[in-house]
């Protein structure tokens, strides 16, 4: 019996947006993808809606990243000057830099470690993470321990490295 998707939507939507945001790094796109995932769930009616949503979301984010990389290459060819004319208030720059650093640190994790960490942060249990990643349940603690350590270390290393590391 499929879950009540409206109920899952109510409970899971913010976590799914957060999960996607840390993959595509664009709040609006993350929301769009999350809604798209729910729209697909309505068509597919999976048994375990929550788990299914995260799998689909992860796939969509990966496709998006590929597409974004392609578009970026095209844009670089087309564009002659960088769009650096916009100015942002102080705190936005700070928040941006902080997000950039965390992003750069996250990208230094192995895909599997990163996935486990993001799933845990999205509120999944060890059982759910195990089902999602194919890791043994007993290995989740170790995976998360390693992921957390690497995240913190990479972040600190990035901060010591100063400005030139800020762009991930």
């Amino acid at each position: 019996m499929p879950d009540d998707i409206a109920e899952v939507y109510r409970n899971t939507y913010p976590a799914l947006v957060r999960f996607l945001y840390r993959k595509v790094w664009d709040a609006e796109r993350a929301e769009d993808l999350a809604q798209e995932a729910f729209a697909r769930a309505l068509v597919h009616r999976p048994d375990n809606t929550r788990g299914w949503l995260f799998v689909v979301a992860a796939n969509m984010a990966r496709d998006e990243a590929r597409k974004a990389a392609r578009e970026k290459r095209h844009l670089t060819l087309l564009k002659s000057e960088p769009d650096s004319t916009q100015t942002a208030p102080e705190e936005e720059i700070d928040a941006d830099t902080q997000a950039q650093r965390v992003r750069a640190a996250l990208e230094q994790l192995t895909p599997r470690d990163r996935e486990a960490l993001l799933l845990w942060d999205a509120g999944m249990s060890y059982d759910e993470i195990a089902a999602q990643t194919g890791l043994a349940r007993g290995a989740i603690g170790t995976t998360l321990a390693r992921a957390r350590r690497r995240l913190v270390e990479a972040y600190d290393a990035g901060r010591e490295g100063g400005q030139h590391v800020a762009r991930g």
């Binding site: 939507y9 913010p14 609006e28 597409k67 942060d121 989740i140 603690g141 998360l144």
Partner: protein, 348 residues
Amino acid sequence: MSHVDEGTLHAYLDGELPPAERAGLEAHLEQCIACKTLLTEERALLERASALLGSTRPTERPAPPFQDVRRAQRRPWYARRTLAWAASLVLAVGLGYYLRDPGDGVRSVPSTPPTVGAAEDRLVRLDSSATAAAPEQVANQPPMARMPAGRRAQERKTDTRAEEAEQNKAARDSTAAGVVALEPRVQLRNATPAPAAATPNRDSAALRLDAAVVMSEAQSGEVAALRGRAVTTQWQIISRGAATTLLGTDPVGLPGLRTRRIRRSPAPDATVVVEQALDSATTIQIFQRPMTEYGYSDRAAREAAPSAAAAAPADRLARFVGRLRVEISGPLTTDSLNKLLEQVEPIP
């Protein structure tokens, strides 16, 4: 028992160690200083990793109504952005045409070469400002500022009426300026004041909360800062029924925790705080405020609601539960507050 590895400690800290293993580990930690030290280190690591991830939360907006998702075969984001861009281009071209001759306006005879040049110049400027302003500006606004102006005005009107009706009583009751005494009105309608304490569900509370690591207050300057900004006595205590009326829906809190009191903001902005006891010495504050449907508002709304912006410090953890924007505050670590915030639901 031999020494424990990090993985076990993280599972323990995450509240994911099976009960049998957990008991064994706790017995070992009692005796083994090395492992106890390691546990402290791993806890610090876990907290930092959580805080780092927490610092990259997107600005949360209320979920659009589920019917919208159901209804729409959504166009992909890039198509919509292209459309938005195209729309701004059309607008810019239109404006450029309209403004093509500032001297004579639209009545002028077809443009001479210099005015065409000027129009193009304007067109370029208009276009770049229009595209730059479109999606990013909206995304950068704090969600509180997005409440449409109409809705806010409506709320204010309701408040004003209540104020008139209860003016005498309010004048006697309220200690802080600007407090609207809604409570008497609500109690007339809702004769029994709601019970202060929800039925405690100890088991589930213990289970859910074991991930919450309580810190002593002195440990964290950040916590002290949060508390400094927190609720003062000017927030009037209200009944649960009054909170429901004010919010337009049931107030939210942590299931299984005793509700100490519910209070409302001295500002006329329908913010309510539910204060719950985690234990005898620890109170968690859950701030909540109704939002309208999914929709972004413009600058006018932000200007119409300066108190809303002030009441929503950006660094407090926030999420949406139904149509309530919910923020959490308490003498706990960011990670714990994060976890607790995820569990917030309408209280019975």
